[in-house]
């Protein structure tokens, strides 16, 4: 498109001073995102055109291939990131400043895609429900009606869950890489809306599942509203949506700026909701409990990774210069989150709720690392940086969470999954392998050495102390001891208690779930004994670019 010189008709003064600049869209750098969204769109087409009987297989294969292709693309992008000037960051701000593809971005993309790959395998599991997926046959049929019974008899399946999941993954890839507020909001919504749907699609205990979906949707919509209000106020302060411009405005500000502070607070509310930090955590136990367990695994792992990546980018890049304003607030939030997560988990009687509160406490630990803000090069020694430690913790947390929820899917009784803790008594006798694996995941969550959970906690604590946040580390250490109590309680229940009634039954899952559990276990063991390579990879990610 040329300039509008044609309007004047002459070669004299032109109406428009500057020609329209076509934005460069670096398709290459964005290829993982585009592949995932493309897979999602193909999935929708499959739903429209492929025969019902063939849909499950097609969708599963399509999703797996799509994620693997995106993973390969991520690796290629990571290998070709160029350094930016003399800073420690590498990468490029693409799409006219809307998306930043830098070291931390590709690390998070890789983590999300790896976790999504094993989550898809969980979604595809059919053996545990007797040849059918764990998702509702016909979501629109009201529970308890003949329509539902008919759908069940006919063996209907909602294979739309796969493209829904892919859309959500697309949003998760966009969210942490967004370099301006509107793109970030778009990413947030794209990742959340399919999740709201997925939470309501359980085959068993449908009312609980639909309740969970509704709660997630209502609270999520509210928090998105807060986020948007924060976006508006920040735009009002900075005059631009772009992080680099906001950072300039923040560092150049004079005096107290209520507009900025309010904007930061509201944006924080939106983000902290997504990572289930207290006091915005109330949705987590109900939603994790009600959603189908494979969706819970996907949510608990991938949403947190994406949300923490976005939180880091927003606060370090855009509001980094205002850190004395927000670090105390985040520190207090971290303490409350750890308190809520560790203490309330003790009273839980349902395994999924207990794991949800454990997730909340992990979010608290990650926030501790996040608050001890310092970047590579801000000190003379060779200490771990905050970004490095948070990225590493997210990897360890993701794999042990997916593994733990995968184990929850195989412990069943006549009514489906046996999630009440009393049903887990004596599991060690029934199946020592499953109980042993779950005990190992619990020990990893508790932070026992030689597990990946310990390495992650260690990294986060050291970077926090390096950054001067040692009171938080002391609180975190004490609360870890409290947390160890409820993890030990489950281990005692499994190994040292007699089964109640008939006891739990461990169904043999198909190869899919077995692979997921094996991968989770392998990563937890390897990262516990030899975390060096992944830590170095996180260090190589370097800094955020602007």
């Amino acid at each position: 498109m040329t300039g509008l010189t044609g309007l004047t008709g002459t070669t004299g003064t032109t109406v428009l001073a500057a020609a329209f600049q076509k934005p460069t869209i670096d398709y290459g750098l964005l290829s993982p995102l585009l592949i995932v969204l493309g897979t999602a769109l193909l999935g929708v087409l499959v739903e429209a055109f492929v025969a019902r009987r063939a849909r499950y297989l097609t969708q599963t294969v399509l999703s797996v291939v799509g994620i693997i292709a995106a993973l390969v693309a991520t690796v290629l992008v990571a290998a070709h990131l160029d350094p930016v000037g003399t800073s420690a960051g590498r990468g490029k701000v693409a799409v006219g400043g809307a998306i930043a593809v830098d070291g931390p971005t590709v690390f998070i993309w890789g983590t999300i895609l790896a976790l999504s790959l094993i989550s898809v395998l969980l979604f595809a599991e059919r053996t545990l429900e007797g040849g059918i997926t764990a998702f509702a046959g016909q979501a629109a049929a009201l529970p308890g009606t003949s329509a539902e019974r008919e759908a069940s008899t006919q063996g209907l399946e909602h294979t739309e869950v796969f493209p829904l999941m892919m859309f959500s993954i697309g949003g998760m890839l966009l969210f942490p890489s967004a370099n301006d507020l509107v793109t970030m909001f778009v990413g947030l919504e794209v990742l959340s809306l399919p999740l709201y749907l997925l939470c309501g699609l359980a085959r068993r205990r449908r009312l609980l599942s639909q309740e969970a979906a509704l709660k997630y949707f209502m609270l999520g919509a509210f928090s998105s509203g807060f986020f948007l209000y924060g976006v508006a106020l920040t735009y009002g302060f900075a005059g631009s949506m772009n992080f680099a411009d906001i950072a300039e405005a923040v560092s150049g500000r004079l005096g107290a700026q209520p507009l900025l502070l309010a904007g930061i607070a509201l944006l924080a509310v939106g983000m902290l909701f997504k990572v289930s930090a207290a006091p915005f955590h109330a949705w987590t136990p109900d939603v994790y409990q009600g959603a189908p367990t494979s969706v819970t695994a996907f949510m608990a792992a991938c949403t947190k990774v994406a949300a923490f990546g976005a939180l880091l980018r927003l606060f370090y890049v855009a509001f980094g210069a205002a850190r004395w304003d927000w670090s105390v607030m985040i520190g207090i939030v971290a303490v409350i989150t750890m308190l809520v997560g560790c203490i309330l988990a003790i009273t839980q009687s349902d395994i999924k709720r207990m794991l949800a509160y454990s997730s909340i406490s992990h979010a608290g630990f990650i926030l501790v690392g996040f608050v001890g803000l310092h970047q590579v090069g801000s000190f003379a020694g060779t200490e771990l940086s905050s970004v490095q430690s948070v990225l590493f913790y997210l990897v360890t947390y993701g794999f042990m969470t997916v593994g733990a929820f995968a184990v929850v899917t195989v412990v069943r009784d006549a009514g489906g999954e046996a999630t009440h803790l009393s049903r887990w008594a004596g599991l060690g006798k029934e199946s020592p392998v499953v109980a042993g694996v779950f005990a190992f995941f619990l020990l990893s969550m508790a932070g026992i050495p030689l597990t990946s959970g310990f390495a992650g906690k260690w990294a986060v604590f050291t970077s926090a102390v390096s950054g001067g946040a040692w009171p938080l580390v002391v609180v975190a250490v004490v609360l870890s001891a409290v947390a160890a109590f409820f993890y030990a309680r489950v281990i005692v229940l499994m190994f040292f208690s007699e089964p109640v009634g008939e006891g739990p039954v461990v169904m043999n899952p198909s190869l899919l779930t077995t692979i997921v559990i094996a991968v989770g276990l392998a990563v937890t063991v390897v990262l516990g004994v030899y975390p060096g390579p992944v830590l170095d990879l996180a260090a190589n990610a370097g800094q955020f670019i602007r």
Binding site: T382, F454, T462, V477, A488, V492, P531
Partner: protein
């Protein structure tokens, strides 16, 4: 010195043995099957041979740390896989290697009635042996911490899976107490990383490099507190000792031996190796408080022991009292006290092991732990009574038995530091006589109680298990030189490193005049 990794062999041989036991075909894991027990005994004896070789070829006049192995582990953390023994570490490794086959032999039938099979019981014991050897020979703080926490797991399953009626609660109490201590130590370990990363050496956890790093005085004191609390819980010292009596009572006698004789030594060993060497100024600053707690432990443990009716609980409380002596010896910061306390750790291991195991034989026969259920056992089972007497006399430090030497040295060190600590310590000896002799009198002497009349005396296996302990107790009582020869140089090096000197002996003025020409 050959470069064969003897220490790594000593660490991994029992662990491999544990894995072999688990992998044995299910016929071997059935209750009462003999093969797993023989395999376990075999592995522990081979480990003893390896450790014996290390002890025999240890060069007394040579380098401080010998048989060293250092490999990078996690570069980013500054963690290394680094092993090495000096005299103090070697003594404890030797003790572990000697005690494990004794425990396996004495616990031949203890694993049969547990929640899981015999294989599991002996596998956990072997795993604990391997991890303990690693703890005592670790020269990297991160490796030490990792293995320190790892030792909790075998003991937890040993207590919780095999033992008395309330073993589950005792196991959980043990786990939570020690985890809390471990987590406090984690805060200090993290702090050490930051301190070393900011120094010129870069982040490192090697002891040799860390002790060169200069620390701010207040930072060092806080880090010291983190380590010390963890070790005090482990030792255990009053007031964080309440997990030990429950654990010792509910676990089998073999488990209690592993727990008290080996695991608890990690606490006092850590005080010497880490508290003193890494934070010498802070150790000096904390000495008055620590010595007070040590004396309180001595007296409280002894008084509580006197009042017990349950034999294993009584022995557990005597351990609390003995560990008070050991900590007293460590923190008086002179060579008598330190040599005495290291020797004490070895001797206490032997004598308490003998006490627990013989008491275990007794309890297994009668089925009750209560003293009031026994009486006049020596008429019915004289060999058992005799071994019990020897073990008891060693616990009260009768001269001629090895614990006397160590107790004497510790008290000498206490007196040299300041006389009132010595006086308090001596009171402990008097109380020790009370608790041991009263227990012996009530259970062994007097008229034979009806429940005891049918007791059988010890069989050959049970006697053979205790004999090495008795030989060591008596032999080292008369000739402690083999041990003191390796301990003294290490103690001397430690004290030199922390700039502590022995007080000059006070010579009376009259003798001086007579002595001069």
């Amino acid at each position: 010195m050959s470069s064969f990794p003897w220490l790594t062999t000593a660490v991994f041989l029992p662990v491999v043995g544990a894995l072999v036991l688990v992998a044995l075909p299910s016929g071997g894991g059935a209750r009462g099957a003999v093969l797993p027990k023989q395999v376990a005994l075999g592995f522990s004896l081979v480990t003893l041979v390896v450790v014996g070789y290390v002890a025999a070829t240890f060069d007394v006049g040579g380098a401080r740390y010998q048989f060293t192995e250092t490999h990078d582990w996690i570069k980013v953390f500054g963690a290394h896989y680094a092993l090495g023994v000096d005299g103090i570490g070697l003594t404890l490794v030797l003790m572990t290697a000697i005690l494990t086959p004794v425990v396996i032999l004495a616990s031949w039938h203890d694993g049969d009635e547990g929640r899981w099979g015999t294989s599991a019981f002996f596998a956990w014991i072997l795993a604990l042996e391997g991890l303990s050897v690693c703890v005592f020979s670790a020269t990297d703080v991160f490796l030490f911490y990792v293995v320190f926490e790892a030792t909790l797991i075998p003991v937890y399953f040993l207590i919780g899976g095999f033992g008395g009626a309330r073993r589950s609660a005792a196991a959980v109490k043990f786990l939570i107490y020690n985890l809390l201590g471990g987590l406090l130590m984690l805060a200090s370990v993290v702090g050490l990383y930051v301190v070393s990363a900011r120094s010129s050496a870069g982040p490192t956890y090697l002891l040799s490099e860390l002790s060169q790093v200069s620390m701010d005085r207040d930072v060092a004191r806080w880090l010291f507190v983190g380590f010390f609390v963890a070790f005090a819980i482990k030792a255990p010292m009053v007031p964080v000792h309440t997990w030990l009596p429950d654990a010792a009572e509910e676990g089998t006698s073999g488990t209690s031996v592993m727990l008290v004789s080996i695991l608890d030594k990690i606490g006092t060993f850590g005080m010497i190796r880490f508290c003193l060497q890494l934070f010498p100024e802070a150790s000096r600053w904390a000495t008055p408080v620590v010595l007070t707690l040590a004396v309180v432990s001595i007296l409280w443990g002894a008084l509580a022991a006197i009042g017990q009716d349950s034999i294993p609980r009584l022995i557990a409380y005597t351990s609390v009292s003995h560990f008070g002596f050991i900590v007293l010896g460590v923190f008086v910061l002179n060579s008598y006290g330190q040599s005495g306390s290291t020797l004490y750790m070895f001797n206490h291991g032997m004598s308490t092991a003998a006490l627990f195991l013989v008491a275990g034989y007794l309890v297994r026969r009668r089925g009750s732990v209560l003293i009031s259920d026994y009486g006049g056992v020596e008429k019915v089972a004289p060999v058992l009574a005799a071994l019990f007497l020897v073990a008891g006399l060693s616990s009260l430090s009768l001269p001629g038995l090895s614990p006397f030497v160590s107790e004497f040295l510790v008290l000498l060190g206490a007196f040299a530091h300041a006389w009132w600590w010595g006086v308090a310590g001596v009171l402990g000896i008097v109380l020790a006589a009370l608790y041991i002799l009263l227990m012996y009198q009530r259970t062994m002497t007097g008229p034979t109680v009806p429940g005891v009349a049918a007791l059988k005396d010890l069989n050959v296996r049970e006697v053979v298990a205790i004999v090495p302990l008795v030989v060591l107790i008596v032999g080292l009582g008369f000739f402690p030189k083999p041990l003191t020869a390796i301990i003294d140089p290490a103690v001397h090096d430690t004290l030199t490193q922390i700039h502590a000197t022995d007080p000059a002996p006070a010579v009376p003025a009259a003798a001086q005049q007579e002595g001069s020409p």
